[in-house]
């Protein structure tokens, strides 16, 4: 018989995203967790890069916000979930924003599409005036 394991949060922490230095802290903190949890170097690099992109979006497009990071366990399987939220202007056309090369700020337009590729799961909730929440997960 198959046992369905419940997903539990074994660790969690909230970091502010208000300044450029906060972006550095976000990268360092995510890196520390991942290395403590023994994610591979390539996984660490992908996840930290995605975190950097999404934190910068929250800062630059969303006017600042926070990241909540959680360590997940489903049975013996571990994962990390990063949730970025801001109370900024939100995104009118999410499908458009996800396209590579689409930017309203003179960037490369790679942050959203790129972090989606770098992570296992990607979810974005946003509407004009209501801010943006991007949640990404990567399993070990």
């Amino acid at each position: 018989m198959e046992t369905v394991s419940e997903q539990i949060i074994t660790r969690s922490e909230i970091l502010p995203i208000r300044t450029q230095i906060d972006l550095v802290h976000v990268r360092q903190r995510v890196r520390t967790w991942l290395s403590e949890e023994r994610f591979t170097l390539i996984d660490q690099t992908k996840i930290v890069t995605a975190a950097s992109e999404l934190a910068r979006n929250a800062l630059e497009h969303g006017g600042g916000g926070q990241m909540e990071m959680s360590l997940l366990a489903v049975g013996a399987r571990k994962g990390i979930r990063l949730k970025f939220s801001d109370q900024g202007p939100g995104i009118v056309d999410i499908a458009m924003a996800l396209k590579d090369g689409y930017t309203t700020a003179g960037g490369m337009g790679l942050g959203l599409g790129g972090s989606k590729r770098l992570m296992s799961e990607f979810d974005i909730q946003s509407s004009p005036g209501a801010g943006t929440v991007v949640t990404v997960t990567r399993w070990k």
Binding site: K46, T49, S52, E53, R56, M108, L110
Partner: protein
């Protein structure tokens, strides 16, 4: 403000990034390098990123900007020492860093720049002479 040091070796400039690169620091480096290239008439710029644990779209864009500015000032840029995990991630992110020449380490990067500066960049006709 904090600055990343720029070393001069003959007509080349060498930058080794050893700190956490926050955005303004990267932009400051872009400005400083542009100024130094023009002041010294440098022919090549070597940027050692072996200590960088990630290159995101912002840092990637800054490196591309530096290479573009240097080219306009008649200098070539080589980015050296990118960690394999960083290279894999950059490609998945969607950044191919067009226009940026890379080398595995500082020695190879320097060798390339020295040859490029003396015109020995492989376009000579000597191989076909005779």
């Amino acid at each position: 403000m904090e600055r990343i040091p720029i070393l001069r070796i003959g007509s080349l400039l060498l930058v080794t990034i050893q700190v956490d690169l926050y955005d303004d620091l990267a932009l400051q480096l872009q400005d400083d390098l542009s100024t130094r290239i023009a002041e010294l008439g440098a022919t090549g710029v070597l940027i050692d990123i072996s200590a960088l644990e990630i290159v995101d779209s912002f840092i990637g864009r800054t490196l591309a900007n530096i290479a573009a500015i240097a080219r306009v000032l008649d200098a070539e840029t080589v980015v050296v020492g990118m960690q394999p995990a960083v290279a894999i991630t950059l490609v998945e992110l969607g950044m191919s860093l067009p226009g940026i020449r890379t080398a595995l380490n500082v020695d190879l990067g320097m060798e390339y720049l020295r040859q490029a500066a003396t015109g020995g960049d492989g376009v000579g006709t000597d191989h076909y002479a005779e």
